[in-house]
């Protein structure tokens, strides 16, 4: 266990430079922004000279780059950057929309796990049969289907044709909040009607977002399971007289090591898919907020959102690495 602790400390230490790197890239993105957004924010071509000047001063647009960097990073950290479009602190706007995006990604992730894992195992156990071929084709179609296309296709079926799902707004949150993710909170606090409402609103977008991941995971589970089962230690287990099911358990645990990594990556690409999914299903999450921000040249918001996405992504990777170390004793060194 001492090894595990040491590993955790070391891994957390490498987390810091990555975070600094993220802020640097975000800053570079901000720095490329042409100098005239001030005019746009001040109200377009008709904007008065003073208003523009005031905005330039407020957002430090005339300062040297290190000052701008510090202004931006400290502003994001202390939530003191005001969105020129909504006149709210940027982080405030984002934190309102964060639960929607997070909930969407979680539901998609659950879909991936529930469908991808069993499909992968079945196709490994039935390798080189028609089951295997179907899973393989399903995986390839999954990664090839544009999210927006699948989204509208499913909308056409479930909304236009049969009215099974609903597109308006987002259901209320349960009164007591634990994780600030309504669907989890309502389940934990026993508000099943709210849970149902959220599920009814989110299952279709979640499925759409997770569609690509299911096949990818299934293929990956299949391959790593087959790889694990061809290991020498599996033969030795059989030679020891260990029953089949227990042999499979060993193989599965060994296969889990790479699977955990892929699941982490999957979560990252799920996050990437949220802007499109939210746009298709009119969900008021961070993704659709980012798209609105782009349409209005609302650069502080774009930057803040990029930053938040990166933080979630990097944190996910951190969790994956920790899980990895918990499963595989070799990693702790």
């Amino acid at each position: 266990m001492a090894n595990l602790k040491k590993f955790l400390v070391r891994r957390l230490l490498t987390f810091i430079p990555t975070l600094i790197g993220v802020t640097l890239i975000v800053f570079v993105i901000a720095y490329v922004i042409p100098a005239n957004p001030a005019k746009a924010w001040a109200g377009g071509e008709k904007a008065s000279e003073e208003a523009v000047k005031q905005i330039i001063a407020e957002y430090h647009l005339d300062q040297p780059w290190y000052d701008q960097y510090w202004f931006l990073i400290s502003g994001l950290a202390t939530n003191s950057i005001i969105d020129p479009r909504t006149s709210n602190p940027v982080m405030g706007d984002i934190s309102e929309r964060f639960p929607v995006t997070f909930q969407l990604a979680i539901i998609a992730f659950v879909f991936i796990l529930l469908l991808g894992l069993p499909l992968g195992l079945v196709s490994a156990l039935k390798r080189n049969t028609w089951v295997d071929t179907i899973v393989r084709i399903f995986a390839l179609i999954g990664v090839s289907t544009p999210i927006f296309w699948l989204g509208y296709l499913l909308l056409y079926i479930f909304f236009v044709k049969y009215r099974i799902t609903d597109l308006a707004g987002v259901p209320p949150s349960p009164p007591t909040q634990i994780f600030h993710v309504p669907i989890i909170d309502s389940l934990l606090t026993g508000h099943f009607t709210i849970f149902k409402q959220h599920f009814a609103r989110f299952w279709l977008p979640g499925f759409t977002l997770g569609f690509a991941g299911m096949g990818v995971l299934a293929r990956f589970v299949r391959n790593s399971f087959l790889e694990a089962i061809s290991g020498d230690y599996i033969e030795f287990l059989k030679a020891k007289g260990v029953p089949k099911l227990k042999v499979y358990r060993h193989a599965l645990k060994n296969a889990l090591v790479p699977i955990v990594t892929v699941l982490g990556l999957q979560f990252g690409s799920l996050l990437g898919g949220t802007p499109i999914t939210e746009t298709v299903f009119s969900l008021p999450g961070m993704g659709s907020y980012a798209i609105d921000a782009i349409r209005n040249l609302d650069f502080p918001a774009i930057i803040a959102i990029t930053f938040i996405y990166a933080i979630i992504f990097v944190t996910t990777n951190l969790i994956v690495d920790i899980l990895y170390a918990v499963i595989d004793p070799r990693v702790r060194y």
Binding site: F236, A239, G241, N254, I327, R330
Partner: protein, 325 residues
């Protein structure tokens, strides 16, 4: 001679691969006697490992046991191991007949402690009631395979042990259920030379202690001379010669055995120089007709190309498959 514990007859295993059917072993027959160390010798790829695994049906697709029988005489009577179903043979593997594989680095599951893996072998055969009890017993087993400080080693993961230590753990797993037969497939090949002798000695001590029979598979004639009672020489999937260590080393009959002994320093007689056997090991998809050794044999005759030689007993307990005799 004492009574046989294993009678192998006409054991044949084919591998159905992309390139064609590999006739890995064909009509292999031999007896193993109670309490002895029986060595299977031959070059890499001659089918000795396949033979040892086929004894308990440990052949995976694309391989298949085509025919043959392996009669096992246990205390409870005699059975043909190849006729048992999956569950019956599983009960024999690891409890009556145990294996030690070549590479200790990959024989152990990297994700479990060594104690767990020894305990698991006992638990699945009902020798202990739980893994927990098994891990306690594993301490004694680790001690018996001469691992220092077994109380703490039992909690180690495989990657925390050296190669020699791992092989001791593998051996410990093998003897945990005090099996009647221990099949050691090149147990020292992957280890440092300094450790090899210790491991062989350990196996021999354990054999005496548990009154077990050892089948030793190796390509190392030195090892054979030192540890084995009887030897079977294999060539290209067939048995070339069987006899006691004395008979094989002092009076080799088969031209292949003679060549083999000339190619390595013979531990029993002094040789002036080493000679290589001309030619290469045949491809087992389309093996040479007749005697499989004839293309490389200095004494090859017409009949060798046509007729497969049978194993003939030349002197007491000394068999050879060659048309010269």
């Amino acid at each position: 001679m004492s009574e046989p514990i294993l009678e192998v007859r006409n054991l044949t295993v084919h591998f159905y691969t992309y390139a064609g059917i590999v006739k890995a072993i064909e009509d292999v027959s031999f007896d193993v006697y109670k309490g002895e160390t029986f060595a299977l010798v031959g070059e890499t790829g001659c089918g000795k490992s396949v033979t040892s695994r086929a004894l308990t049906q440990l052949i995976e697709s694309p391989g298949r046991i085509v025919r043959g029988s392996v009669i096992y005489h246990s205390d409870k009577g005699s059975v043909d191991l190849l006729k048992l179903n999956e569950e019956e043979i599983r009960e024999i593997r690891g409890s009556e007949i145990a294996y030690i594989f070549q590479d200790p680095h990959s024989s152990l599951d990297p994700l479990y402690t060594v104690g767990y893996q020894i305990a698991e072998g006992m638990e699945v055969h009902g020798r202990v009631k739980s893994i927990k009890e098994g891990i306690q017993k594993a301490v004694d087993i680790l001690r018996s395979v001469l691992i220092p400080d077994p109380e703490s080693r039992v909690k180690n993961y495989p990657h925390e042990l050296s190669g020699g230590m791992k092989q001791r753990v593998v051996i410990g797993t093998g003897i945990a259920n005090s099996p009647k037969i221990l099949i050691a497939d090149e147990p020292t090949t992957a280890l440092d030379v300094t450790v090899q002798a210790q491991i062989l000695e350990l196996i021999d001590d354990l054999r005496k202690k548990y009154n077990a029979t050892v089948i030793l598979i190796t390509h190392n004639l030195g090892v054979v001379a030192e540890t084995a009672d009887r030897v079977a020489v294999m060539y290209a999937g067939k048995i070339a010669e069987i006899g006691s260590v004395e008979q094989i080393f002092k009076n080799p009959l088969h031209p292949y055995t003679k060549g083999l002994l000339k190619a390595v320093p013979n531990p029993m007689t002094k040789v002036e120089r080493l000679d290589a056997i001309p030619g290469t090991v045949p491809n087992l998809i389309t093996p040479p007709g007749g005697c499989r050794f004839h293309p490389r044999c200095p004494f090859a005759m017409e009949i060798c190309k046509k007729k497969v030689p049978e194993l003939k007993e030349i002197e007491d307990g000394h068999f050879v498959a060659c048309h010269l005799y």
